[in-house]
Amino acid sequence: MRSLDKKAHEAQDKKAAIGPDIDLNTYSLESPQHAAVKDLKVMPGADKERMAFAGLDISEEGRSGTYIQKDAISIHSGSHQDGLEIIPIKKALQEMDWLKEYYWKLASVDTDKYTARARLDLQNGYVIRALPGKKITLPAQACLYLEKEGFSQNVHNIIIAEEDSELHIISGCASASHVTRGLHVGISEFYVKKNAKLSFSMIHHWAEDVVVRPRSVGIVEKGGLFLSNYISMKPVKSVQMYPTIYLVGKGAVARSYSLLVGSPGSELDVGGRIYLKAKDTRAEIVSRAITNGGNIISRGDIVAEVPGVRGHLECHGLILNGGIMHAIPELKGMVDGVELSHEAAVGKIAQEEILYLMSRGLTEEEATATIVRGFLSVDIPDLPGPLKAEIDRAVDLSQKEVM
């Protein structure tokens, strides 16, 4: 552990490989105290509303458990289902010796200054684990909430789907309505064990001057399935993330779906990288991005290292009202017998489509909104119905604000 700290210290000023550099010293590390909340319903209405935008269901109906963190403080943490564990990571690190086999085992502390900060100034985060053979079909929910203006929130999450288990997580990040400026650094390490199924849907609902630097790495063992969804449709100053997934067991599958909206002043540099390292593994990376004045870089990278694997990349971008859309799909086949493909398109809404809907009686605005909604609705295979409904709801809510 010491050596990790040493590495982190050395990387404190290390710029990230991509994305605008951020001066970390301009953000505060002093978190206010927040009281623990037992009953989510008693939280202030404004908080509840903002959290709902990020997919949090206050009633907890249809949820298997909840974790909520305000600034640096974990205010609620609990599982309602046998076989599901939800624990603040600081507590888990003290009480669960086995966690050291997972903590910083996939992500490297010296990746850049953001990983270094999460190592040196860890505030909290969550460990969510489905025990072996347990099928947790109702989603677990987590919310990382930024309430203090100018705060640097540094979290570390570890998600484990043990052998033959099933786990679905909605992880929402949001800032309070009065917050304009802030920083969120989030390390996530995902372990999908043999024949396990994990879906992780991250919904971001930040503010105009919030900077976000997630650093995620996942590993999928034999027969495992990892679905990773990311939705960011609200204005945000800068998001840069390039999560990496390693498929190391035979027949492992990873799918990554991103829905992005870039508002004026926003810069989203979002990608996904999947390594196909075992026989019969499959990867799919799909992104749908709309800019109405923002700058979006949509990256995708699939690396095939063994024969008989398949991967497909799809980046579709719409420029609605100014802005920049930069699609960077990459494929790398390192041996014979791999099948990799990609399709990328950057364009506008076809006038023909708008007129077609107008000839059915929709106004031009209604027609445009209908087409945009369609563009953002991707059918995500293997996603349970309630989670799909939740994602649709998040898209609808955000889209109303965007349009």
Binding site: H316, A350, E352, E353, L355, Y356, L357, M358, S359, R360, G361, L362, T363, E364, E366, A367, T370, I371, R373, G374, F375, L376, S377, V378
Partner: protein, 281 residues
């Protein structure tokens, strides 16, 4: 009523309609014939209000309103609807959603879809990967939901297999409040069977031994019917199913002839468009 007077239309720099006069009374259905490039689709698109079709002269009146420069959605809301030959595919937009969007008066979408043998397609993206026949059924389904007073059909039978063509034909009859059995001599098939069928009179249904007419006359139906239709056909197959009041030949951007649709189609088959246009003119 749809009234088109001396309509002239440009697409880009090209004059595509030079002089079109057309009058469709409530309850009437007209068939539009013409070779490729004669301006048939352009006429429909102009009536629907597609902005790239610039009206440079003349006037279009619908239900007493001058719609010559009205927007496409206002025309749709006024009661004009169109079944396209090649509508755009829209990724992510479910067919059900678009049918909902154009539905008036609490239409039962599932019942309509079942009738069109289209239930399986409701949750598919509109027109994405649809075959020619599936597109036609989807278009008609939307028109039914829309319940348009003036329905424009651009080659409703093209790409439709023989099994589905009667479904398409019967649906168009329904849309236009027509009953396919009632005007025996107005469909080509029956016209040929009952030949000679040259005059209006020979088209009148025979009386039964009780002296009653087994079918309503065209006139009778015309009074109860209000829906108007304008149908483009290339192959004429649709005439086997859909009765119509008037046939028009569009030739080089001009209405070159009018008459009994079945007769016109027979003539076109016999002597071709050019000759037919010349004779009719």
């Amino acid at each position: 009523m749809l009234l088109i007077e001396d309509l002239q239309v440009k697409l880009g720099n090209k004059k595509i309609l030079r002089h079109v006069d057309l009058e469709i009374l409530p309850g009437e259905t007209h068939i539009l014939f013409g070779p490729n490039g004669s301006g048939k689709t352009s006429l429909l698109m102009t009536i629907m209000g597609y902005p790239q079709y610039k009206v440079t002269g003349g006037k279009i009146t619908f239900k007493g309103e001058d719609i010559t420069h009205m927007t496409i959605d206002d025309r749709a809301r006024l009661g004009i609807g169109m079944s396209y030959q090649r509508p755009p595919s829209i990724q992510g937009l479910k067919t059900r959603r678009i049918i909902e969007a154009c539905s008036k008066n609490g239409v039962d979408i599932d019942a309509l879809a079942e009738r069109m043998n289209f239930t399986d397609f409701l949750d598919r993206d509109i027109n994405v990967g649809f075959s020619g026949g599936e597109i036609k059924r989807s278009e008609l389904l939307q028109l039914m939901a829309q319940d348009a007073d003036l329905a424009l059909f651009d080659e409703p039978e093209s790409g439709v297999d023989l099994e589905n063509i009667s479904l398409i034909g019967n649906t168009i009859n329904d849309l236009l409040q027509r009953d396919s059995g009632e005007y025996p001599c107005r469909t080509t098939k029956q016209c040929e069977a009952a030949s000679p069928c040259k005059t209006e009179k020979s088209c009148e249904p025979a009386q039964t031994s009780h002296g009653e007419t087994p079918f309503k006359t065209v006139k009778d139906m015309g009074t109860t019917r209000s829906k108007m239709g304008l149908i483009i056909t290339h192959t004429g197959f649709i005439l086997d199913y859909v009765t119509a009041d008037q046939g028009l030949v569009l030739y080089k951007g001009v209405v070159a002839g009018k008459g009994n649709p079945a007769e016109i189609f027979k003539q076109i088959r016999k002597v071709g468009y050019k000759e037919c246009a010349r004779c009719a003119a």
